[in-house]
């Protein structure tokens, strides 16, 4: 399915560059979950993530004519990262929120699988909340790289393209981000799932 889409992606991009909204919406359909999840992890708030995701796709639609090849995924994630950055800056400016507060209200982790038991759902929800707290503990740059690499599974090269940084910078941020998150988790070891708790 993914390969089929990859083959069609270039055609969708070309048609989008000619102003075809329907073709662009095919790309939206394919990448919206990735973008929304990045925004959700970066911002820690479902409403803000929704707005950031919508901003991302509008900005992308506006700028798709300037897309000159390469990884469309990295390109759209770069726009999403900028949209998240703008949202965070606006929130800071308004002084209406802190990331800690945002996390408390994040209405995410909606049951995605009907077969999931209530216990598993509760555990998954708790884990997600815990990890969001840990991510909020990182700097914005570190958080972005850690999310892209460890949660969304992008390669270092794709991250480098998405963040407009060198490979060395990506590795450095990833190292520091992981170490910092590790410190956060170890301080709250009792909240970790059992299989992780006994390791250390």
């Amino acid at each position: 399915m993914r390969n089929v889409f990859s083959m069609e992606e270039q055609e969708f991009i070309s048609r989008s560059q000619e102003g075809d909204v329907e073709a662009f919406n095919q790309l939206v359909e394919h990448y919206q979950r990735l973008v929304y999840n990045l925004a959700l992890r970066m911002l820690g708030n479902a409403d803000m993530a929704e707005d950031a995701a919508q901003d991302t796709f509008f900005s992308a639609y506006k700028a798709v004519g300037k897309f000159r090849g390469g990884s469309f995924k990295a390109w759209i994630l770069r726009i999403a990262a900028n949209a998240c950055h703008d949202r965070m800056r606006a929130a800071r400016r308004a002084r209406a929120s802190s990331l800690d507060n945002l996390i408390e209200e994040s209405g995410d982790f909606i049951a995605d699988n009907d077969a999931e038991s209530p216990e598993d759902y509760a555990l998954r929800r708790e884990l997600g909340r815990f990890l969001n707290e840990g991510l909020a503990y990182l700097t914005e740059d570190q958080r972005l790289v850690v999310i892209l690499c460890d949660i969304q599974g992008l390669s270092y090269e794709e991250i480098s393209e998405a963040t407009n940084s060198s490979l060395g910078t990506v590795k450095s941020r990833l190292n520091r981000g992981r170490a910092r998150l590790r410190d956060f988790l170890l301080q709250r070891r009792e909240l970790l799932p059992a299989e992780f708790r006994q390791d250390k």
């Binding site: 102003g19 909204v21 662009f24 919406n25 939206v28 359909e29 919206q32 979950r33 973008v35 929304y36 999840n37 959700l40 992890r41 479902a46 409403d47 803000m48 929704e50 707005d51 995701a53 919508q54 901003d55 991302t56 796709f57 509008f58 900005s59 639609y61 506006k62 949202r87 606006a90 929130a91 308004a94 209406a96 929120s97 507060n101 982790f109 909606i110 995605d112 884990l127 997600g128 990890l131 850690v146 690499c149 460890d150 949660i151 599974g153 270092y156 590795k171 990833l174 190292n175 992981r178 170490a179 998150l181 590790r182 988790l185 170890l186 970790l192 799932p193 992780f196 390791d199 250390k200």
Partner: protein
Amino acid sequence: MFSGIRKTRCRKVWGMISDYIDDLLGAEERNEVERHLETCSACSKELESLRMTVQLLRRTPSVPVPRSFAIREVEAGREEVSGQHGSGWLRPVPAFAVGRVSAVWGGVCDPQRLRWLRPAAAFATAALVLLLMLDFLQVVPQQGGIDTREVFNESTAQVVSTPAPEVEWDTFEAGGDELAEVPPVPAPPSQAAEDEGKAPAADVYFDELTGGNDYGGGKEIATDTAGGWPMRQIEIAIGAVASILIAVTVVTWMRRNRLSRV
């Protein structure tokens, strides 16, 4: 000495630790890291805790999107969307209304771009308050020490029936726009008749003031023309502008606030 060498090796390994975890090292570098890990328990523990962190992150669930982010035709021409897609009371604005507003304002009303609104609203409000204060203190319509509005707030009949005070006729120049120099109260017709040749009858005086036009009320005359400025209209205009600016500012602020709602 040995601890210094060990620290140097630890640092070198730490530079490669993420690549090692992600299995991106070449065979030679990988062997070097593993040899060091066999002899350095501190680095081994660090590696294990980092691995645990990464495994935990990889278990982070992917959240389904709450709705589609597809671009609608009506929005495709817009520069940017900010605000109407989130939850909140402004959310259910119909798409066609958004499109119309955007078409008219060309994005000017976008909350992100309305930084000028707050100072403008503050300025308009300050102007309105100042004007009302001046009005209240009767500074604006009062020139030459006489409040003409006070005189003409009374009905014409009352003016006529008012006993004539002592009038400084030297300063009386009826007609023209200089109502400020009108004496406080015109002489009543009866007294004027008695004092023939000194003071005009009130009706005549009123006609001279108004140029013979029937304004239907003294207040309008005084406030509209006092000092040569249509003060009432200015007040109304500034009030209307201030009200609109304040309303738009409040709406914009609420939308912005919603964006950063916690």
